[in-house]
Structure formats: structure tokens, C-alpha cells
């Protein structure tokens, strides 16, 4: 992609992505917020394309389309006013939140602009992230598999423990013992 074509795709995409992201938290409708988030993250796929990452750009479009549509369903299910017709205010501490957000953005932006990034590009023959891939898929594979299983167990356990009624479910009607502390066979 030529420099001109890159600029033609990149700058409008960046503008739309940031505008959609800001409007996510401005609109009073949860459904609109979900669709704006979908737009923002899908347009980020266009930014990836402009930067030359065709695979990641298309993957981002596909992934975010599916994920955000599911998110919109959750919003419509859980919000008392998903259409935003009652003008609900879903914010708190707006001033302090904005102050912290501006401070974080300024700090990160200053680091990005003021850091003396190396100008040269790493050559084709130089060791690159491919070496990390070989490490992950080679002798360290067991470690990564174990870490992945641990994370999965933690997620399943966290959701189970957060369930209403705990691990063993709610006690049966007329049962004096709490369902939280006794397995089903002890409660009968």
C-alpha cells in the first residue's frame, strides 16, 4: 500500500474509531453504546489494515462483529432502559474520571512522542519473535499448557463460586441447612 493510500485509510479510520469510542460513553442508550463499540473496534481493524496487517485486520473485523453482537444482547437483557428513552444517567464522578483519563492519556502520549525510538527496522535475518514462538511450542510447551489450564480452572471456579447459592446450589424448601456449606448428599 502506498503512503498516500495508507494515509487516506489511516486518518479517517482513526478519527471514526476515536469518535465512536467517545460516543459509547456519551449516549444514554445501551443498545446504541454496544453498536458504537462494535463500530469502534471494527474500524480498528481498518487501522490494522492501513498499517499493513491484513490478517489481523480481517480477524479483528470478524472477532469484534461476533463479540459485540453478543454484548448488545446482554445489554438489552439487563438494562431497565436499553433504548435510552427515559434519559437515564449511567455515570458517576464524571469530572474526576475525565481528569484521570486525560492525565493517563497525556502521560502515555508524552512517552510515545518523547521517547527516542530506534529508526532502523530489524533485518530479515535478525532473531525475532519467531524465536519466542519456537520456545513456546518447544521445550516450554508444558509450562504454557499448565498455565493455560490453571487460568481456565480459575475462570470456571470463579464463576461457580459467584453463582447465587454457591457451589451446591440453593437448599431445598424446608431444609434448615445452608446450601453454601453442605454438599447435596449431606443435606438429604
Amino acid at each position: 500500500m502506498s503512503d498516500l493510500a495508507t494515509a487516506i485509510v489511516f486518518w479517517p479510520a482513526v478519527g471514526l474509531m476515536l469518535a465512536a469510542a467517545v460516543f459509547v460513553f456519551i449516549t444514554s442508550s445501551m443498545a446504541r453504546a454496544g453498536l458504537l463499540l462494535l463500530a469502534s473496534l471494527a474500524i480498528e481493524g481498518l487501522v490494522f489494515l492501513a498499517l499493513g496487517s491484513r490478517f489481523l485486520g480481517f480477524l479483528q473485523l470478524l472477532m469484534m462483529s461476533g463479540e459485540m453482537v453478543i454484548m448488545v444482547f446482554f445489554m438489552v437483557m439487563f438494562m431497565p432502559d436499553p433504548g435510552g428513552l427515559m434519559g437515564m444517567d449511567m455515570t458517576h464522578d464524571k469530572r474526576r474520571s475525565a481528569t484521570v483519563a486525560v492525565a493517563v492519556t497525556a502521560a502515555l502520549g508524552l512517552v510515545a512522542v518523547l521517547t527516542d525510538w530506534p529508526a532502523r527496522v530489524v533485518g530479515r535475518g535478525a532473531p525475532d519473535v519467531r524465536a519466542i514462538g519456537f520456545e513456546v511450542m518447544g521445550r516450554s510447551m508444558i509450562s504454557f499448557l499448565f498455565a493455560g489450564m490453571t487460568i481456565l480452572l480459575a475462570m470456571v471456579g470463579g464463576v461457580l463460586l459467584a453463582k447465587h447459592g454457591g457451589r451446591f446450589g440453593l437448599p431445598a424448601a424446608g431444609d434448615e441447612q445452608s446450601g453454601e456449606h453442605s454438599p447435596p448428599e449431606e443435606r438429604s
Partner: protein, 102 residues
């Protein structure tokens, strides 16, 4: 060619919007949306660094795939917790969740 600091500055702006969403919203699902934007900014950073340090290599895309998976997991676990809290409290407002028990 778009320079690396420009990409990083754009990612910083997107991250800042996400921070505002996480801190300023009261609904749990909106907070999750803020976290999604912050992870999107992290992805943009990784893509920027990959394009400018190893423009010919595609193996680094693996890291962005990990981040995309993390976004999906964060959404899945977050929604599961919202469902769980909504069953017991009948609300998904973060301001109403002031106790760990009950």
C-alpha cells in the same frame, strides 16, 4: 508511512477513553466495554511495534491473537459474573454492589 509515535499516541487516546469509561460508568456492562477499549488500545500498540520492528515477519501476530482471546475471555467471564449478580441482587449497577456477601 505512518510513524510509530503517531500510532502509539492514537492508542494512548483510545486507552484514555477506556479509562474514562471504566471510572465514570455505573453499569457493570458499560465498565466491561471500557476494559474492551483499553485492550483494543493495547492491541494497537502491539500491531504498531510489530509493523515497525519486524515488518516482514508474521509470527508476531501471535501476540495480538492472545490479546483478542483475552478480550473474548474478559467478556465471557464478565457477563457470567453480571448474570450471577443480577440473579441475587436484581441489578447490574456497580454502585449498588457494596457488600461481598448476601
Amino acid at each position: 508511512m505512518i510513524s510509530l509515535p503517531v500510532v502509539l499516541a492514537v492508542a494512548a487516546l483510545l486507552f484514555g477513553v477506556g479509562v474514562y469509561g471504566v471510572l465514570g460508568q455505573t453499569n457493570t456492562i458499560m465498565i466491561i466495554m471500557g476494559v474492551e477499549l483499553m485492550l483494543g488500545a493495547a492491541m494497537l500498540n502491539v500491531v504498531g511495534f510489530l509493523r515497525y520492528s519486524h515488518p516482514h515477519a508474521t509470527s508476531g501476530d501471535f501476540f495480538v491473537l492472545v490479546l483478542m482471546t483475552l478480550m473474548a475471555l474478559e467478556g465471557a467471564v464478565g457477563f457470567a459474573l453480571v448474570v450471577s449478580v443480577f440473579r441475587s441482587r436484581r441489578t447490574s449497577e456497580a454502585d449498588d454492589l457494596t457488600e461481598l456477601s448476601g
